[in-house]
């Protein structure tokens, strides 16, 4: 198992306002990732995401969400323990979002034994818009916490 990488996967669309927050976290981590940790960007495409999960010893996904919390609210969820809460408000409109990719990986028996999801509450998805300030701050905090996760021996 040790030969397989730990993967951090930043999800979202780069030009859609706060939807880009997962990728922003990935960008921040890229320079600081410890050896054996891979940083990936993903548009959330199911098959590719299942494949990324399958090959990993542990995975950390970062995505924008909409649940009604304050913009920038950061949640750390243990996806290995069970399905993500339904009210998280997946951004995908097409029903095959990251949450479904995680469930598919679980159904196929390839979900890594450690799988965390960082969900960052988004405020707006306007094309071309930058991250809203609260969400940009949350990206910074998420990157710091993920570095702490990565320093733990069992991740």
């Amino acid at each position: 198992m040790t030969g397989r990488p730990v993967r951090v996967i930043g999800l979202g669309a780069p030009l859609r306002g706060d939807d880009a927050v997962g990728r922003e976290v990935a960008r921040r981590l890229r320079a600081h990732a410890p050896p054996g940790v891979e940083i990936h960007d993903s548009d959330g495409e199911t098959a590719a995401l299942v494949e990324l999960l399958e090959g990993a010893r542990a995975a950390i996904l970062v995505d924008a969400c909409r649940s009604g919390a304050a913009p920038g609210a950061l949640r750390r969820l243990d996806a290995a323990a069970g399905p993500l809460p339904a009210g998280l408000g997946a951004v995908s409109t097409h029903g095959l979002g990251p949450a479904e990719a995680i469930e598919l990986a679980r159904a196929l028996g390839v979900l890594p034994p450690r799988c965390l999801v960082y969900a960052i509450e988004a405020a707006r998805f306007d094309p071309g818009a930058p991250l809203t300030p609260a969400v940009a701050l949350a990206a910074e905090r998420a990157a710091e916490r993920i570095l702490e996760d990565l320093a733990l021996p069992h991740v």
């Binding site: 098959a47 097409h94 479904e100 159904a107």
Partner: protein, 432 residues
């Protein structure tokens, strides 16, 4: 009078947002309506005033599943406006990238979206728990298609390497050769997939569809051919607007398309197969016969089998193109732009995709018209729903609802592609 309504407000396992409603009065079907409420995206309007050389990168954005189809219809239409033909290895590379898109799109639809209907699961996740092997095969098939598109297009979604006249960069032989082991495995998987779907228990139901697809004398069509129908139509793609009419209906942000005579018609795998089966690769033709498909398939619930045949064909064709490939001297032919009108149709995974552009002396687009496959299939989908419920109106609502959803998914509808407005009218009710 008793009224009964079978409806689903948000369709699952389709691309985009739509709904349907079937209304019965005193046990008889009154109407079947598919509504598309995906917001319109005004692509045709935003193409106006853009340069011809940008158009295919804009239209690629219409769809994340079939960007290659949009790019190909655009570049062929612009090339026809300029009187350019792309031949030899560049033409072969265009077929190859189209193979990649068919493989990924069909693999996704068969395994993740449609198979759960036939096997009695509510969603892909619950199906994956019990059919893990078939499901994983679907994922690796999709990946094989993605690899072709990524290699030729520069990336998997919204490829950036396509241009009018060819490509920005043509691949080396040795680059294409790296795809071969994965594609050979995928071809075996596609054959296994075809045998799997051929064994699905499907409703025994046929309709006499008017099939419309490209037809080409020498090949199963992707990029090129005349537009043909099962009732003898045989026209140049430029004549499409004379023979097919789009009209707006209130319930849908996607225009409905019918023949000039007002008939519903069907585009997509069943239509392509009906008009082109003899030109499938021998491997795919034999496998189709083994799967029990005759020369024409009129049972829409067997479209999943036709899709698997096409996926097998695309893999076999891709391997042949790679084996025969000779590196071109240049990645694109010379273009001599001129003012004019160009129209072209190609075969998107879901069916015929027609584009028409008027280009001015300054190279800017004066007008653009895009007719996606799902727009064309809406009338056919509604007729299917009507017949389905009419044939068995006493079934429980829940059964009918499931069957209606499955019927819509026979078309692999891409609702996001189809949504656009011809004209926007605002009625504020404030005029006398």
């Amino acid at each position: 009078m008793t009224t009964r309504t079978i409806s689903v407000d948000v369709l699952a396992r389709v691309e985009g947002e739509g709904a349907f409603r079937v209304t019965l009065r005193d046990g008889a079907v009154r109407s079947a309506e598919l509504s598309i409420f995906e917001p319109p995206r005004f692509f045709e309007a935003l193409l106006r005033g853009r340069h011809w050389s940008e158009a295919h990168d804009i239209t690629a954005r219409i769809c994340g599943i079939c960007p290659v189809a949009y790019q190909m219809s655009t570049v062929h239409a612009v090339e026809r406006a300029f009187g350019v033909r792309v031949e030899g290895p560049l033409r072969a590379l265009r077929r190859l990238i189209y193979c990649g898109e068919w493989i990924e799109s069909h693999a996704l639809h068969i395994h993740l979206l449609h198979a759960p209907d036939f096997l009695g699961f509510d969603d892909a996740v619950s199906m994956a728990r019990e059919h893990g092997e078939a499901f994983r095969r679907g994922l690796s098939l999709k990946k094989a298609g993605n690899r072709i598109v990524a290699l030729l297009g520069g990336r998997e979604i919204h490829p950036i390497n396509v241009r009018v006249g060819g490509f920005h960069r043509a691949p080396r032989r040795r680059e294409l050769a790296t795809l071969v082991p994965e594609l050979e495995q995928a071809r075996d998987d596609a054959l296994a997939c075809l045998r799997w779907v051929a064994g699905f228990d499907v409703p025994d139901r046929e309709r006499d569809y008017l099939f419309v697809a490209l037809r080409h004398p020498g090949e199963y069509p992707f990029n090129e051919g005349r537009i043909a129908s099962s009732r003898g139509l045989d026209i140049d793609p430029a004549a499409f607007p004379e023979r097919f009419r789009e009209r707006q209906v209130e319930r849908s942000t996607a225009l409905h398309s019918r023949t000039a005579e007002g008939e519903a018609y069907l585009v997509g795998p069943m239509a392509r197969y009906a008009l082109n089966a003899p030109r499938l690769r021998p491997l795919a033709r034999e496998a189709a016969a083994e799967a029990g498909l005759g020369p024409v398939c009129r049972n829409p619930y067997r479209s999943v089998v036709v899709r698997a045949v096409e996926m097998l064909h695309a893999l076999d064709e891709a391997l042949q193109i790679i084996a025969d490939y000779e590196e071109p001297d240049r990645p694109a032919v010379e273009i001599a732009p001129r003012a004019g009108v160009g129209a072209a149709a190609t075969e998107a995974p879901r069916g015929l995709l027609h584009h028409r552009y008027e280009i001015g002396e300054d190279g800017l687009i004066r007008a653009a018209a895009i007719v996606p496959p799902t727009s064309q299939n809406q009338a056919s989908i509604e007729e299917d729903l009507l017949h389905l419920v009419d044939a068995d109106p006493d079934r429980p609502d829940e059964d009918l609802r499931r069957l209606c959803e499955q019927t819509i998914r026979n078309y692999d509808p891409c609702i996001s592609c189809a949504a656009h407005f011809l004209r926007l009218e605002i009625d504020r009710g404030d005029r006398p």
